[in-house]
């Protein structure tokens, strides 16, 4: 209750308590500040050495070559490719799961199934990467000739399952917040369960569903271990899912595990990529929040 949050009295102990709490919570703000500043400092260093135009438009990312090129495009293409494949799996499966859980399961089973799905989110992504590289890729290679050992296809497919709960559980939440009375109205008009789910509940929950998809996309873009293990670490400007590629995240892993001397352009490039990644995911998260707030239906 809002009214219970009274102004603390002037008693010193009360004020001290509030002060301590404020100090503790300021850490969360400082973290954001730290992320931005620590990245920004090195990003500035990077752009002192590499012109922005090269970063944006050069078609190659080869920081360790004798004549290094720093074009982000191959990394963006790789990230986009893996993310698209992951969403291609996660969106239809996740939405179908959300409809099933929210509209077809009785409430006691609903919580249990959502809990099981959360387990997917709880599995460390190294495990998914291992599965993609050693199980899915050999399987796919039998079907698809010319598939590299490291490829975005199997990484993306497996990542689709890793981000599944972000789609299904968030979308199911959105559908659950559609009031029961609206479902009853549709049933009273002679709608069948599938018509209620597809023509009434899903459209009513649309903003939440779209937000769920955007959040899942943001997860996929920032996901690191699956791509680092299974998609490879060779920046290639291609949209062919059979070829070895690198994503922004897998490049960061590669650069960090190799030993870049501090102060080298390659070291600063790490932060330029990281900052791009940060901006991209931040933009998606803000967009998702905006959609939820802006288009939330106000029910009576």
């Amino acid at each position: 209750m809002e009214i219970l949050k009274q102004r603390p009295s002037r008693h010193p102990v009360e004020r001290l308590t509030l002060l301590v709490l404020l100090l503790l919570s300021s850490v969360t703000l400082l973290t954001t500040l730290g992320v931005i500043l620590s990245l920004l400092g090195d990003v500035v260093q990077f752009f002192r050495r590499v012109p922005l135009a090269e970063f944006l438009f050069a078609p190659e990312w080869t920081p360790l070559f004798a004549e290094p090129r720093y074009g982000i495009a191959p990394l963006l293409a790789g990230t986009f490719l893996v993310t698209a494949i992951a969403l291609f799996v996660a969106v239809p499966l996740g939405l179908a799961l959300a409809v099933y859980v929210s509209e077809y399961l009785p409430s006691d089973k609903r919580a249990r199934v959502l809990g099981v799905l959360e387990l997917f989110g709880g599995i460390p992504t190294v495990v998914f990467g291992y599965f993609a590289l050693l199980f899915v890729t050999p399987l796919l290679q039998k079907v698809i000739p010319g598939l590299s050992l490291f490829n975005p296809l199997s990484a993306g497919l497996v990542m689709g399952f890793a981000i599944l709960p972000y789609v299904s559980n968030v979308a199911a939440d959105a559908m659950q917040s559609v009031p029961r009375s609206i479902r009853e109205a549709a049933y009273a008009l002679g709608a069948r369960p599938y018509e209620v789910a597809l023509k009434v509940v899903l459209p009513a929950a649309l903003s939440g569903v779209i937000a769920a998809i955007i959040l899942a996309a943001s997860r996929a873009i920032g996901e690191t271990m699956i791509v680092a293990i299974a998609a490879g670490q060779r920046p290639t400007l291609t949209l062919d899912p059979r070829e070895t590629i690198a994503t922004m995240t897998s490049y960061i892993v590669q650069a960090a595990t190799g030993d870049q001397p501090v102060g080298s352009t390659a070291y600063y490039a790490l932060f330029a990529v990281g900052f791009t990644l940060f901006l991209l995911t931040l933009a998606l998260n803000v967009l998702a929040q905006y959609i939820v707030e802006r288009y939330r239906e106000r029910y009576e």
Binding site: P8, L39, L97, G122, V126, F161, R192, T224, I252, L284
Partner: protein, 401 residues
């Protein structure tokens, strides 16, 4: 509309009724698919964690030893079989330094089956050479053939890679002797320190937001910021850790730098779960405490927080489970190095379980995939234990207000 009094009068719509039935059934498929994948993943990992091997001993005849002997007895016999005298063997097992080196170089492992019979010990030396490694199915099918073709000094074993010694041994460049012990200790160190930082901040922020701040600019800023932090990819936290803790504060690739990085990553999760726990405490409790003349602080810390404690603990356990699996940020703050010893303090070098698994996966030797599978099983068991603990706590302390 013209109706005659028969039940069909209301009209039938067999097509739509059929769509409805098909739809309801089809919707179960994604769930089955997801569960199937989960089962496949676990099954595949389990399957890969066992293999049939032919190994050529570096020295000695490649004997196996019967079940029930102590590791020390087995090592002594192995030393004798390798040609050392009784005195030399006794010395090597008594001198602390020699003994330590001996146990690091040799792994005494219980095999499920060997060419000399089931459940026997073998001693694996770092320098032992793998002749062949087969999957369980192929290995068992060809068991007799392999046994017949064994050369002098070779042994045939059904190797469960995940065994007791795997849990305690340090990493090794030979997959035969690699263990996850150092990484387990690294995880324990990093995780406990990370929670040590994250719990006060996370719970303090939750209390501030739920119990103190009215809706206003500050609470709005804090909330938006937390929501955005929760969406920042974990590897970006790694870059923050690299710039701020490893380089900026000069901590180097240490347990402390890793713990601070993971701690920051864990805060948003702890805040969210702690806020839920606080929100579940009914206002009637607060009102009752206020009516007794308690101050804000007394209400919060003597009434509300104790009531919300089980929920908060559950939340902390769940966030710990999430942090255990994090490899990406720690790769950037030094976990990727080869570390032969468990950490001894906050400034020690370290590695953690998921990073160790990643390093094994990246190795060229195919047997490291088996070591990685064993590592994954260890990590999943650890996670299951945490989830069960959280589940138990949630059910044990569930209250109906």
């Amino acid at each position: 509309m013209n109706r005659t009094p028969t039940p069909e009068a209301f009209g039938q719509d067999p097509w739509k009724a059929r769509i409805d039935r098909v739809f309801a059934r089809a919707l179960v498929l994604p769930l089955l698919l997801a569960l199937g994948l989960l089962a496949l993943l676990l099954g595949d990992t389990l399957y890969r964690s066992v293999s049939v091997q032919v190994v050529r001993a570096d020295m000695g005849p490649g004997h196996t030893y019967p079940f029930g002997l102590s590791a020390e007895t087995i090592l002594r016999q192995e030393l004798l079989a390798q040609g050392y005298t009784e005195e030399e063997a006794a010395f090597m097992l008594q001198d602390p330094k020699e003994r330590n080196a001996l146990f690091l170089q040799n792994r005494v492992e219980l095999m499920w089956n060997t060419h000399e019979g089931p459940f026997r010990y073998v001693v694996t030396n770092v320098y032992d050479e793998r002749v062949a490694d087969f999957s369980l199915a192929e290995g068992l099918r060809r068991w007799n053939e392999l046994k017949a073709n064994l050369q002098e000094g070779e042994r045939l074993v059904l190797n469960p890679w995940l065994d007791q010694t795997f849990l305690t041994r340090p990493p090794s460049r030979s997959p035969l002797t690699a263990g996850i012990g150092v990484a387990i200790w690294g995880t324990v160190w990093v995780l406990s320190l990370a929670l040590f930082f994250a719990i006060p901040v996370g719970i303090g922020t939750a209390i501030l937001l739920e119990e103190y701040l009215r809706e206003g600019r500050l609470s709005r800023i804090l909330e938006v910021n937390l929501r955005n932090l929760a969406g920042v990819p974990s590897i970006v936290y790694g870059l923050l850790g690299l710039a701020l803790f490893v380089r900026g504060m000069g901590l180097g690739p240490s347990v402390l730098a890793a713990a601070l990085t993971l701690g920051l990553l864990g805060i948003p999760v702890i805040v969210v779960t702690a806020r839920e726990a606080l929100r579940a405490v009914p206002d009637s409790l607060r009102l009752a405490a206020f009516a007794l003349g308690a101050t804000q602080r007394q209400v919060v810390f003597r009434v509300v927080v104790p009531a919300a404690l089980p929920g908060m603990v559950t939340g902390v356990i769940l966030s710990a489970a999430r942090l255990i699996g994090e490899a990406a940020p720690l790769l950037l703050v030094g976990a990727a190095a080869y570390v032969p010893f468990a950490p001894t303090g906050p400034l020690s070098q370290y590695t953690v379980i998921p990073v160790q698994i990643y390093l094994w996966i990246s190795q060229n030797q195919p047997e490291f995939a088996r070591v990685a599978a064993a590592g994954i099983l260890v990590m999943l068991l650890l996670l299951s234990a945490l989830y069960l603990m959280a589940l138990y706590l949630r059910n044990r302390f569930r209250r109906e207000w």
